[in-house]
C-alpha cells in the first residue's frame, strides 16, 4: 500500500523547530490517530463530496447563473477525481475543455439570454416531486448494479499508475506503447488514429455549423425581441428626417438596426 499521496511517512516531529507557538500544536499532532490515514482516500472523499453536492445543487437551484456556477465547481471537482485515479491528462483536459471552454460558452449563453423573467423559470412543485421520485429510483437502480459485483468493491491495490500522457498521445497517432492488459491477444491492438481524425473533422464541422446557426441574420419581418424593444415609447428620431421616409419606414429601420 504505497500510494502516490501517502503522506504518513512524513515525520512531523522534525518540523517542530519552526516557531514556538506552532511547536506545541505540532508536538500534539502525533498523539492524534492520523498515522494510518490514507490521504489519497481522504482527498477522494473531499472531491467526491464536492462533485456530488454541487451536482445536486445544479438540480436544486432555480437561478440559471447559480446553476452555471455550481456546474463549474462540480466539473472541477470531477477533474480532481480524475487526477486521483491516475488519469492526469484526462483531468487536465477536463479542466481546460470543460471548465475552461464549455463553461465559458455556457456563461456567454446565460448572459446573452438573461432577461429578467428568464433568469429563473421555476418548475412546478408536482414536477419537482415526480423528478425526485424518478431520480431516487434511478439512483437506487444504479447503486444496486454498482454494488452487485464483488470484484469492484474491494480496496484498491494502491499501485502507483504510470504517467499516462505519453502513451495516450502515442495511441492517438496510432502507436500503442502502453502495457497490454491481461489476456490481450498478441498483436491484436490498434491505435486510435482513425477516431482521432474523425473527431477532428467532427469538431471542425461542428464549429462551422455553430457559427452558421448563431450568426446574425438579415430578415424581412422583425424579430419578436425587436418588436418588444420597438414597442417601448421611444421618440422616433427619423420623423423629422428630411428624406421623406414614412414613419413605418423609420420604424423598420429601427428594427433592422441589430442585423
Amino acid at each position: 500500500m504505497t500510494g502516490m499521496l501517502d503522506m504518513d511517512i512524513i515525520d512531523i516531529s522534525t518540523l517542530t523547530h519552526v516557531a514556538s507557538p506552532f511547536a506545541t500544536i505540532l508536538a500534539a499532532l502525533p498523539a492524534l490517530p492520523i498515522a494510518g490515514i490514507n490521504w489519497h482516500s481522504v482527498l477522494f472523499l473531499l472531491f467526491a463530496g464536492l462533485a456530488c453536492g454541487f451536482a445536486i445543487g445544479v438540480v436544486a437551484a432555480d437561478n440559471v447563473v447559480r446553476m452555471a456556477l455550481y456546474l463549474v465547481f462540480s466539473l472541477g471537482a470531477t477533474a480532481g477525481l480524475f487526477f486521483l485515479a491516475g488519469a492526469e491528462f484526462i483531468g487536465a483536459m477536463q479542466l481546460m475543455i470543460y471548465v475552461g471552454g464549455t463553461l465559458v460558452l455556457l456563461v456567454f449563453g446565460v448572459m446573452l439570454t438573461a432577461q429578467a423573467p428568464l433568469v429563473s423559470i421555476k418548475p412546478s412543485s408536482s414536477d419537482r416531486t415526480l423528478t425526485a421520485v424518478a431520480g431516487a429510483s434511478l439512483l437506487s437502480l444504479l447503486l444496486t448494479a454498482a454494488f452487485s459485483v464483488d470484484a469492484w468493491r474491494g480496496p484498491g491495490v494502491g499501485v502507483v499508475p504510470a504517467p499516462s500522457a505519453t502513451p495516450l498521445g502515442m495511441a492517438l497517432v496510432g502507436v500503442r506503447v502502453d502495457e497490454p492488459p491481461v489476456g490481450t491477444p498478441v498483436g491484436g491492438r490498434v491505435g486510435y488514429m482513425l477516431p482521432f481524425e474523425i473527431v477532428s473533422v467532427h469538431l471542425l464541422v461542428v464549429l462551422v455549423g455553430a457559427a452558421y446557426l448563431a450568426r446574425a441574420k438579415r430578415r424581412r419581418t422583425p424579430r419578436p425581441i425587436d418588436a418588444l424593444a420597438s414597442a417601448m415609447p421611444v421618440e422616433p428620431v427619423a420623423t423629422v428626417a428630411p428624406t421623406g421616409r414614412s414613419a413605418g419606414g423609420a420604424k423598420s429601420a429601427l428594427v433592422g438596426g441589430g442585423r
Partner: protein, 142 residues
C-alpha cells in the same frame, strides 16, 4: 493552523466511527485508511448521472437542460476513468487500461462540440421567440 488542527480532529473522529460504518456496503472498505475501490467512483458517477437526468427532465430553461447533459456525460466519464485505473483494482485484475482514458477524452471533445451546437440552437430560438423556455417551443406541435 487552528483550522488545520480542527480539520484533523474532525477527520480522526469520523475515522473512529469506522467500525459502525463498516456495516454499510459503501463503507465496507474503510475510506480513511484503505485505498478506495472502483465502486466508490461508480457511486459518484451514479449521483452525477442521476442529477443530470433530473436536470434534463425538471428544468424548463434550455440552458439548464444543456447543463444536465453535461452532468450526464461527466458521470459516464467518471466510470470510464475508474474502470481504466489500475489504482482502484485488486492486484492483477483486468482494467480497461489506456482504452478507457482514450474514450473519456473523446467524450470530453464530443461534449464540447455538442455544447457549441446546442448553444447556437438555443441562441437562435431565443432570437426567434424571445424566450429560452422550452415549453414555448411548440411550433411543430400538430
Amino acid at each position: 493552523m487552528m483550522g488545520l488542527v480542527l480539520a484533523t480532529v474532525m477527520v480522526s473522529s469520523v475515522a473512529s466511527l469506522a467500525p459502525c460504518l463498516a456495516t454499510i456496503p459503501l463503507f465496507a472498505v474503510n475510506p480513511f485508511t484503505e485505498p478506495v475501490g472502483v465502486v466508490h467512483y461508480l457511486v459518484v458517477g451514479a449521483v452525477l448521472f442521476t442529477a443530470g437526468i433530473a436536470c434534463m427532465t425538471l428544468k424548463r430553461n434550455a440552458l439548464g437542460i444543456l447543463m444536465g447533459i453535461e452532468l450526464v456525460l461527466n458521470g459516464a466519464n467518471i466510470n470510464f476513468v475508474a474502470f481504466a485505473s489500475p489504482y482502484l483494482r485488486a492486484e492483477g485484475a483486468p482494467t480497461l487500461g489506456l482504452d478507457g482514458q482514450v474514450v473519456a477524452l473523446f467524450v470530453i471533445l464530443l461534449a464540447a462540440a455538442e455544447a457549441a451546437v446546442a448553444l447556437a440552437i438555443t441562441l437562435n430560438f431565443y432570437n426567434n421567440h424571445a424566450t429560452v423556455d422550452v415549453d414555448r417551443a411548440d411550433d411543430l406541435k400538430g
